[in-house]
Symmetry: C2
Subunit: 287 residues, 2 copies
């Protein structure tokens, strides 16, 4: 847990962009507030076509030098890391000189779980004079609100499954594993670890096809890990999550309101209505 | 947790037999002590050929009447449930008259997790004048000893992975989900729920093939759930578990000594040596 964040600084914002549509949505929200955005799409993660019409500087994961050289003279003091990024191998990092001196520490960062990795990258960025901010701090529009996002809402039975899932995720969070579980008929049928949410939902679909999950429907529950640094590692859902949950035969998806990123809210609500699923922002176990 | 068990009673022992070789191994261990064994293989779970040469009475899950009618006149007062049994659908139970009166309660038993189901069946058996015993109480030979079962032993690095896995299983056990996790390089990469241990190991093999698990090897850790009724639901491993762990690229398997059933100890040790894996009985978190 970090202390209360300092007020957002003036000056341009550096946006280090992984894959998906979220980085550009964040860029647009920030720009709409009248703040300049410097885009640093990551090679191998961001799509070239998405950045063709915008000023940008390509970086490799671990190239702190480029960021420092381009952003600092422009008065930039804040960095946001946003978008999807598969856990990189040490060899894909392509360290520049600045990062090379830090390699032993970057290597250390790869040893533990994901949270450990991200915390260490955050420390490195901050030692170079930047403040790392969460995308939701500079663009709160990307967070799930409380309540249903589409037409449908969870039933009382769904709510009981959701409560059990949240309880489990609170208890398992300190182990730095997945942020999601599937609960059906008051029974936890799948828990996410290295396979990711999509992998877990595919497994639930297969178990259901084999008749090994008998409860009528069930719920995907996602929550941030208790100790998670919310600046760069909030859980996120999008239209594809809804599709995968539908294929797994689930009744819906519950996420923590104001602590979950919704990549494309309009497309997600539409996908949920079409598939007959609810997607709801709920209060966390403490909330 | 149950209180200390009463001393094992005299009279024949009723063995309700699921699938696999374990029920017959238990039958032989008990018979070797000079006690008569009444075999009740379960239709659809036990193999006919295994019971052809032995006196036995086929039952369906839920047929308490047959058990009562056959076993009680012979002075039998103790029942052991042993062997593999996929969670039955309510329709495959084929209730007899005794069980039919109990159907509402059996239906209730199917609502929650596995542990809930088994506890309720145990209660039903006991209300009919039998005492439910654990297979390991009547045949302690089937339990894993402390230390390695084959030639290899865990390294210090493996021991650190084992400790993390045990810690996780102790924390997640109260949710009545899986009894196993895979830890590689101090990172929990897979957690078992409805898919079972074999399903989880197949997933780890796939994740490794995709390069999504980078730690050199890793360990399968199995432990009983904290609140588990050890009379009929101990974790178990066999030669097939070793094979699956080998395909997942693991260094070995750790189980709780004296709280884990080893189906075929000699075949298991041989499989472990052949695959270059350790299989070790370790002390539980409290031990």
């Amino acid at each position: 847990m970090s202390a209360a964040p300092p007020p957002v600084a003036d000056g341009p914002l550096a946006l280090v962009c992984g894959g998906g549509s979220l980085p550009l949505a964040v860029a647009d929200h920030v720009a709409a507030r009248g703040r300049r955005v410097l885009l640093f799409p990551i090679r191998g993660a961001a799509r070239e076509a998405d950045y063709a019409g915008r000023e940008h500087t390509w970086v490799y994961v671990g190239q702190l030098g480029t960021l420092v050289r381009v952003a600092r003279p422009l008065g930039c003091r804040e960095v946001v890391l946003i978008g999807s990024l598969t856990r990189p191998s040490l060899w894909s990092i392509r360290p520049d000189w600045t990062s090379l001196k830090l390699m032993p520490r970057i290597a250390m960062a790869f040893r533990g779980g994901d949270n450990h990795l991200l915390s260490n990258i955050a420390k490195l960025v901050e030692e170079h004079g930047f403040t790392l901010r969460g995308a939701h701090e500079v663009a709160p529009e990307i967070l799930a609100p409380e309540g249903p996002l589409g037409r449908l809402a969870p039933t009382d039975s769904d709510r009981a499954d959701i409560a059990l899932g949240l309880d489990y995720l609170a208890a398992s969070g300190r182990f730095d594993i997945g942020q999601a579980a599937v609960v059906a008929g008051r029974h936890i049928v799948a828990v996410e670890a290295a396979e990711g949410t999509d992998g877990m939902l595919a497994r639930v679909a297969a178990l259901r096809a084999e008749g090994r999950i008998r409860a009528a429907r069930g719920v995907l529950v996602k929550a941030p890990k208790p100790q998670q640094d919310r600046r760069f590692d909030l859980p996120s859902i999008g239209p594809k999550t809804v599709e995968a949950a539908g294929l797994a035969g689930l009744a819906g998806i519950a996420v923590i309101a104001r602590e979950t990123v919704v990549a494309e809210p309009a497309a997600l609500a539409e996908a949920a209505d079409r598939a007959g699923l609810f997607v709801a922002g709920v209060r966390g176990p403490q909330g």
